[in-house]
């Protein structure tokens, strides 16, 4: 029992954190509404899998009834941060956030999981991180086998923590930010934006980044890609490592402040959410940083949101894209930053596209960042439901707004032998339409 730390120990350790959680936890009335929507509960069927159970476990730790144990950590690990519970909770309990807070308590009490510790240490060192991922891009192909679809590989050798069947995105030989100058000029700039690329787009899905740049250029927007920008920190702070998360946030805030831009755009719901909501929240106890975070937050928009609400993107020169398209709403788009109409408006504006809504476009695809690393089988089951929903639309293309979703759904399509369906970012379709318009 030596590795079990009791509530009393952590109480002494961090009273503030616990008191905070206690009040929020008390608001859960145990009504069970979250059971109807939690994708994890749907698969595992046990209370520890649903928000109600996880909140109860945290209450148990607070009361001193149960220790912060391996099982506790495992239970809190079984959450995709998909926010479905919070969106469906009539008592307004932000269960997804509380679960992350619970993970913080775990990190405080028992330290970070050794594997995560290694990865985050790497992440913290920006130049080293950049170097490692670029090396992966250069030498990755040796270990990866290409699949007959764009941006899809499987590992040739077993990799630690990775299921060997799993379809991944190859790391780019040249990361996005190294493919362009820092500032990408246009003839008559209407405005100037800073593009927060996020790791996925910079190191893997460079095709999304290229499309974002093309589309912004097509709308007379000057783009800067601050070279010192770093990972938004979402995977880090959702694991409970708030301190490292803050380091990232501080770095990004300092970096983006240096640029005189009208807006900051991101092409990923989670990245946009980090800038818009997480950073200001993180610095609630540091008024100066909080004010700076809020200033940037006000300027940050997700790319579809930016194109529709601010730029009123050009529709006169759109060429035809012949395809049946359906859309998957990433959790952090639909329930995080609440952007769902704008991507649809973009897709529907493109001539030739037949848009078919799937039954549950907003249901989580099961990726959940590092969740799918630790729980691949479970995340596959959740994803299989998404893939079946996609199949019933008979779409050739699934459009989405998140790199992780794109990768996970691609994997799902391959595993389910649905080889004629491609997954792209919404903006790639728009880019394609502009290209077609030029011909």
């Amino acid at each position: 029992m030596s590795n079990e730390i009791t509530a009393k120990d952590i109480n002494e350790h961090d009273k503030e954190l616990l008191r905070d959680i206690e009040d929020a936890l008390a608001n859960c009335v145990k009504c069970g509404n979250c059971m109807a929507v939690c994708p994890i509960f749907k698969e595992v069927g046990v209370e520890s899998g649903v928000a109600r159970g996880k909140l109860a476990l945290m209450e148990g730790v607070l009361k001193g009834d149960i220790p912060i144990s391996d099982n506790f950590e495992k239970a809190l690990g079984k959450c995709l941060s998909c926010k479905a519970c919070a969106a469906n909770c009539s008592s307004g309990v932000p269960a997804d956030e509380l679960i992350i807070r619970g993970r913080q308590a775990i990190v405080k009490a028992r330290g970070l999981h050794p594997m995560k510790q290694k990865v985050f240490t790497l992440l913290k060192n920006r130049p080293l991180f950049d170097f490692a991922l670029r090396m992966a891009g250069l030498f990755g192909p040796l270990g990866m086998k290409k699949l007959p679809r764009p941006m899809a590989v499987v590992a040739r050798f077993p990799m630690p923590g990775m299921d060997k069947r799993r379809v991944l995105t190859p790391f780019a030989a040249t990361p996005l930010r190294n493919q362009y100058p820092e500032t990408i000029k246009v003839d008559k700039p209407k405005m100037r934006v800073a593009f927060f690329t996020g790791c996925t787009i910079n190191y893997a899905y460079t095709d999304i980044g290229q499309s974002v740049i093309n589309v912004l250029k097509a709308n007379d927007v000057e783009v800067v890609m601050p070279s010192m920008q770093h990972c938004c920190g979402t995977p880090v702070f959702t694991s409970g490592d708030i301190e490292t998360g803050k380091t990232f946030a501080r770095h990004n805030i300092q970096t983006f402040e240096r640029y005189d831009v009208d807006y900051i755009v991101a092409a990923c719901g989670s990245c946009a959410e980090a800038f818009k909501f997480e950073y200001p929240k993180m610095f609630k106890d540091e008024p100066d940083m909080k004010a700076r975070a809020e200033k940037l937050a006000k300027k940050t928009l997700e790319i579809s949101e930016f194109l529709v609400d601010v730029v009123k993107f050009r529709k006169d020169n759109l060429g035809e894209v012949k395809a049946t398209v359906t859309m998957h709403d990433p959790c952090h788009m639909v329930r995080g930053i609440k952007v769902t109409q704008q991507p649809r408006e973009i897709v529907n504006a493109i001539p030739g596209i037949k848009f078919v809504e799937m039954k549950e476009p907003a249901r989580c695809c099961g990726s959940g960042g590092s969740f799918s690393l630790a729980n691949y089988e479970l995340s596959r089951k959740i994803n299989d439901r998404k893939v079946a929903d996609i199949a019933s639309t008979h779409a050739d293309i699934v459009a989405t707004s998140c790199g992780s979703c794109r990768m996970h759904i691609t994997d799902g399509l391959v595993q389910n032998h649905q080889d004629n369906t491609q997954v792209v970012h919404v903006i790639q379709l728009l880019d394609k339409a502009y290209q077609a318009g030029k011909k």
């Binding site: 009040d23 008390a26 145990k30 059971m35 099982n71 009539s90 008592s91």
Partner: protein, 460 residues
């Protein structure tokens, strides 16, 4: 619990479906009822009647308590494993076995979620009317065992009106089948009714034969606002005496109105003493005629305003106030007791006034809303379980609410059940002889008192 018993349980359900870690046990120590928590010693998730039969036989011979659990959303501590023992979760038994269109019957396992049954029968233009606030999560087994009601209770009745038969595993593991598909069936004691609403104290239901009905072709909803509570009460009486049975006839009291308005901003006047929400359904021409009459009754009884919904969007807008009632109240304070006292419908205004006086007397926050049409009221007390002094006042208020309901010839529960929550008033309602009669039924069917012991009829 002895290791040999645990081993035997593991053999019956398979290792994956026996949960014994402290964390898993903790997750089955509560239900939706505030203030009740106790650890079980084991949680099993059987997949079949046979497995349940074996579990009960084992528990019976070892005198281990068994708490059957659907989704654990009941509001009377009925699934709280107060004496430890085994929590038996039915959610793996979630198959709809048959939809018999010719006989308008559905056969399903107990772990099926109510909304899923409704989705399945909707394809045939049918509905399964019992619709508790928790339809999206509550199981058929749980709703049948609590005899759950819902918004449509006035016209469509409660769960017991839809249960035609069932398969039950008795305490000793024996399996019985009672009732069936016959609309008329007077052969023997009505065992189906006995197990319906038995709150898991008499047996474990493993299969249900349920009546489904044609979905109404048309619906019309309206909302009336009253400055005076008695006008609202007279409207309810007036509607019924005009021989109109609305599918829904809901009331919100002033304290609920103010809370809802404060948090959800649906446009209710803060000084209104009551709001009535009414929906009539059925054949389109009848619906129109009935809606007209309801409208006239509301006007006659000095409704301050009446809004009639013209389309689905407006219906949703009207219902927003009702839907927001419980959430809005529960957001006020950490602990929410959603009570369920029921009075004859003519007594609704008197009861509402009494509750409002009780709230003042004990200085507790109570909002009342509920099913005015059938007299089923939900006085909802919000408080903080962690403040001892406040809880003492809450207890007193609660006691006076139930005593008042009983004095008005009401009942302790219209749909939520008794469990532990309302046990202490049972004798007051039923008298010692009837209580003893109920206890002898319990003893006859469960001589070792292993099934949900201590609930509904108390210790035997």
């Amino acid at each position: 619990m002895q290791t040999s018993t645990l081993d035997a349980l593991k053999k019956i359900v398979g290792p994956e479906y026996l949960l014994t870690s402290p964390e898993d046990l903790y997750c089955y120590s509560y239900d939706a009822t505030p203030g009740h928590q106790h650890l079980p010693e084991a949680v099993v998730r059987p997949a079949s009647t046979e497995e349940i039969s074996k579990i009960l036989a084992l528990a019976n011979s070892n005198k281990i308590p068994v708490y059957t659990r659907g989704s654990g959303t009941n509001l009377c501590a009925d699934t709280c494993p107060t004496n430890g023992g085994i929590v038996l979760v039915t959610t793996r038994m979630n198959k709809i076995l048959e939809i018999d269109k010719e006989n308008l019957i559905a056969v399903a396992q107990p772990g099926v979620v109510v909304a899923d049954l409704n989705k399945a029968v909707a394809e045939f233009g049918l509905i399964y009317p019992p619709d508790p606030g928790t339809v999206a999560t509550a199981t058929l087994g749980g709703t049948v065992s609590e005899n759950a009601g819902g918004l449509r209770g006035l016209k469509y009745g409660v769960t017991k009106h839809y249960v035609m038969g069932m398969e039950v595993v008795l305490a000793d593991g024996n399996i019985i089948n009672c009732g069936g598909k016959n609309v008329k069936d007077v052969s023997g004691y009505d065992m189906t009714k006995l197990f319906t609403g038995a709150e898991g104290t008499l047996g474990v239901i493993t299969k249900l034969i349920l009546k489904v009905v044609p979905a109404p072709e048309a619906k019309k909803a309206m909302m009336a606002i009253f400055k005076n509570l008695d006008d609202a009460g007279n409207s309810v009486a007036g509607i019924i005496s005009h021989k109109i049975i609305p599918s829904t006839l809901e009331i919100l009291d002033n304290s609920t109105i103010r809370t809802v308005e404060d948090s959800a901003k649906v446009g209710l006047p803060l000084d209104a003493e009551a709001v009535l929400l009414i929906e009539v359904d059925g054949n389109p021409t009848v619906v129109e005629a009935e809606a007209e009459k309801v409208f006239a009754v509301l006007k006659e009884n000095h409704a301050f305003s009446v809004q009639v919904a013209k389309n689905q969007q407006e219906v949703d807008k009207l219902w927003a106030a009702r839907r927001a009632a419980l959430p809005a109240l529960s957001k006020l304070r950490p602990t929410t007791f959603c009570e369920d006292a029921t009075v004859p419908r003519s007594q609704v205004p008197k009861f509402l006034r009494a509750v409002s006086d009780i709230a003042k007397k004990y200085n507790v926050t109570i909002g009342t809303f509920g099913h005015a049409g059938d007299g089923n009221m939900h006085p909802t007390i919000v408080c903080d379980l962690r403040i001892k002094e406040e809880m003492e006042r809450v207890d007193k208020a609660m006691d006076e609410i139930f005593t008042t309901a009983l004095k008005l010839n009401g009942t302790l529960s219209g749909e939520h059940g008794i469990g532990l929550g309302k046990l202490s008033w049972m004798e007051q309602q039923h008298g010692p002889i009837l209580m003893e009669t109920m206890r002898s039924i319990k003893r006859a069917l469960d001589p070792n008192l292993i099934l949900n012991p201590g609930k509904l009829v108390g210790e035997c």
